[in-house]
């Protein structure tokens, strides 16, 4: 199971062309660029629509104590889908949704998919500047905005150069927006079509994009990761079977839509007619009462939630009796928290999932076993376990290292996407071929792993400066670009601090030669460009930045300085 998977997977969904760009000599790998083909495929929405046929009156969604049946949610989605197709006749493959934790947010995701487009989730909690950047990079012509985003539309749209169609299911009168932003077309709820007889587009080209997410990028720009229907359907099918999902299940929906783990919540749940419980913003931090009150059977969150509950003494034995499965993903899971969660949810299987966005939600799993797992943990961290059946992995060792040593995890298979959105340079860097595996495209994760004694993969860290904060992927260089601009500093370094149980709780910044003397001012400017979790907690000013033997900033020394502070 843990050996390199030799069984051939089906050919890549895309025809490929070789690039003559950068080649990693160290890995003797060739980069991959892809162009689409046109095989037909069942889209991501298929499972929801089948459940809506089978269980029209069962609850599909609960938001703010309001229940929405499968039929009701499908009707809302149909109205949005019909309106998109009525307003936009061009074939641009994506439409954006700016909404969060509302019925409109979920209906918009389904409506966009039902219109045959991929959805691009934008987060009303992110700074407008960043949301605008994502919208521009996506190139979307259609935006569906929920009530929670209305207050920022003016700022967001005033600097968009092209004419957008903005659908507003929660606003009855869009006259004010129309007058203020004449370049764009606004469709209020009263002007939307009803979609009674709408026929959802369920069959898509295999190359069609299901969703486009943005992750932190090293250059200072967010990086778009397109996930195709052909990537995500295998995930949904495998996990809904593995977790024996049925219509009586009650799923948590803890993640923001901009986090790809939300795709699991929604579509694994709806695949089998289960009900999705949107965790209110205020319960996201400490959801213990919510889990009990809603009698959830399926839990999925980042491990930080378990850490916070543990710290607040809210992970008491048997406190979550309704849970059948508890899944954690997005950052290292501490063995102590897995053990505590298992005791809190004795009838639940506890699993640690692992997977970069590029490999679709998660691609490996490890099931916690109270008696066998503790000795399998390395540095108190739960292994990431075995790669899903049908997916492939290999550990690429550095020159001179022996088999079994630490190496970079590379992944291939139906779940792995084929490159970044309009970013051939990043694609060339991360998607490669190896001579011995022919035309298979491999994604270089940048994660360092090794095989444990029982064969499962163990996560050891990164080969670069990427960190995970509450599951969010953060490239420290992206923050440094913003900080350099905000402070006028000659040299900037951002380091993770504090770090506990293998997880990063926050960031601090070091500046050298900054022209702006006001830390608060600098941090305020950062907040305008970066989401909260990327803004450093503190700024330290140095006369001189410590350098290592290679003349690079010595981050380890900076961390030691912090520890000594």
């Amino acid at each position: 199971m843990f050996e390199f998977v030799e069984t051939p997977i089906r050919p890549l969904q895309q025809s490929e062309q070789l690039s003559r760009g950068t080649v990693s000599q160290q890995h003797a790998a060739r980069p991959v660029l892809a162009t689409p083909t046109s095989r037909k495929y069942n889209g991501l929405i298929q499972g929801f629509l089948e459940s809506a046929e089978r269980f029209p009156c069962r609850d599909a969604l609960v938001v703010d104590n309001t229940n929405f049946s499968y039929r009701g949610l499908r009707d809302r989605a149909a109205a949005i889908a019909q309106t998109i197709l009525d307003q936009e006749s061009d074939s641009f493959p994506l439409a954006a949704v700016l909404a969060s934790r509302s019925a409109t947010a979920y209906a918009s995701v389904l409506g966009i998919l039902g219109a045959g487009r991929g959805y691009v989730p934008l987060n009303p909690k992110f700074p407008v500047e960043r949301t605008r950047k994502m919208l521009i990079l996506s190139g979307c012509r259609v935006l569906v905005a929920g009530r929670e985003a209305l207050g920022q539309l003016r700022r967001l749209l005033s600097e968009i150069d092209w004419a957008l169609t903005v659908i507003l299911p929660d606003l009855t009168d869009a006259a004010e927006l129309r007058a203020g932003l004449p370049k764009h077309r606004f469709v209020s709820s009263q002007e939307m079509l009803q979609g009674e007889s709408f026929s959802f587009k369920t069959e898509v080209n295999s190359s069609a994009i299901a969703y486009l997410l943005f992750t932190s990028g090293t250059t200072g720009e967010p990086k778009g990761v397109p996930i195709h229907h052909s990537n995500v359907r295998p995930y949904i099918q495998y996990t809904s079977s593995r977790y024996e999902v049925n219509e009586r299940d009650r799923f948590s929906q803890q993640f923001d839509l901009t986090f790809d783990l939300s795709v699991h919540d929604m579509f694994v749940c709806w695949e089998r007619g289960a009900c999705l419980f949107c965790v209110p913003e205020k319960s996201v931090m400490l959801p213990a009462k919510f889990i009990r009150d809603c009698e959830l059977t399926m839990w999925f969150s980042v491990p930080s939630v378990a850490a916070l509950l543990s710290k607040m003494h809210l992970l008491q034995p048997h406190c979550f009796p309704s849970l059948r499965f508890s899944l954690f993903c997005g950052e290292p899971l501490a063995a102590a928290h897995a053990r505590q969660w298992q005791e809190a949810a004795p009838d639940s299987a506890v699993e640690n999932l692992y997977g970069p966005t590029e490999t679709t939600i998660a691609i490996s799993h490890y099931r916690w076993n109270p008696s066998k797992s503790p000795p399998e943990c390395l540095n108190g961290i739960v292994p990431i376990g075995s790669v899903f059946p049908g997916q492939q992995f290999r550990i690429v060792h550095h020159e001179g290292s022996r088999s079994g040593a630490v190496g970079e995890l590379c992944l291939a298979g139906p779940q792995v996407t084929d490159g970044y959105w309009n970013n051939p340079e990043a694609t060339r860097r991360q998607f490669v071929r190896f001579p011995e595996t022919g035309e298979t495209s491999w994604y270089r994760t940048g994660d360092l792993v090794k095989r444990g004694e029982t064969g499962g993969l163990q996560y050891l860290g990164r080969i670069d400066q990427q960190v995970k904060i509450r599951g969010y992927r953060v490239e420290l260089q992206e923050i440094e670009v913003v900080l350099r601009k905000a402070s006028g500093a000659e040299q900037v370094a951002v380091v993770p601090c504090p770090v506990a149980d293998g997880g990063v709780d926050g960031l601090v910044a070091f500046l050298c030669g900054a022209s702006d003397p006001d830390d608060l001012h600098i941090l305020n400017r950062c907040r305008q460009a970066l989401p909260d979790y990327m803004v450093p907690r503190n700024i330290y000013r140095l006369e001189e930045m410590p350098l290592n033997d290679n003349g690079k900033i010595d981050r380890k020394k900076l961390l030691r300085q912090l520890e000594g502070a």
């Binding site: 209110p280 913003e281 205020k282 319960s283 996201v284 931090m285 400490l286 213990a288 009462k289 930080s304 916070l308 710290k311 607040m312 003494h313 809210l314 008491q316 406190c319 509450r470 709780d505 926050g506 830390d519 608060l520 941090l523 305020n524 950062c526 907040r527 909260d532 979790y533 803004v535 450093p536 907690r537 503190n538």
Partner: protein, 88 residues
């Protein structure tokens, strides 16, 4: 002499003034009715730090098991819960 709710509210407000998230200046906006999370003054980790601070001041453990988040995120709600637990 047990701490009064008003004294604890003052302590909490002073703590938040010194420990709020960068860029979210609470000057003038911070009151007993402030929602510490919705206002963006504290993130989840900052909130936990605040709980630890209150526990260290009162010497008692705060039990949030059955408390609604809309209550414990408000300054005075959190203080009330803290003192209630001390009385029990």
């Amino acid at each position: 002499m047990p701490m009064s709710e008003a004294q604890l509210v003052d302590l909490v407000i002073n703590w938040v003034r010194s420990n709020h998230r960068p860029g979210n200046s609470p000057n003038g906006d911070l009151s007993p009715d402030t929602d510490l999370i919705a206002s963006g003054m504290l993130d989840s980790f900052g909130f936990i730090d605040l709980i630890v601070f209150i526990e260290s001041q009162s010497g008692c453990r705060i039990d949030l098991t059955d408390v609604d988040p809309s209550e414990f995120c408000i300054v005075k709600g959190l203080c009330r819960i803290s003192l209630k637990d001390r009385q029990n």
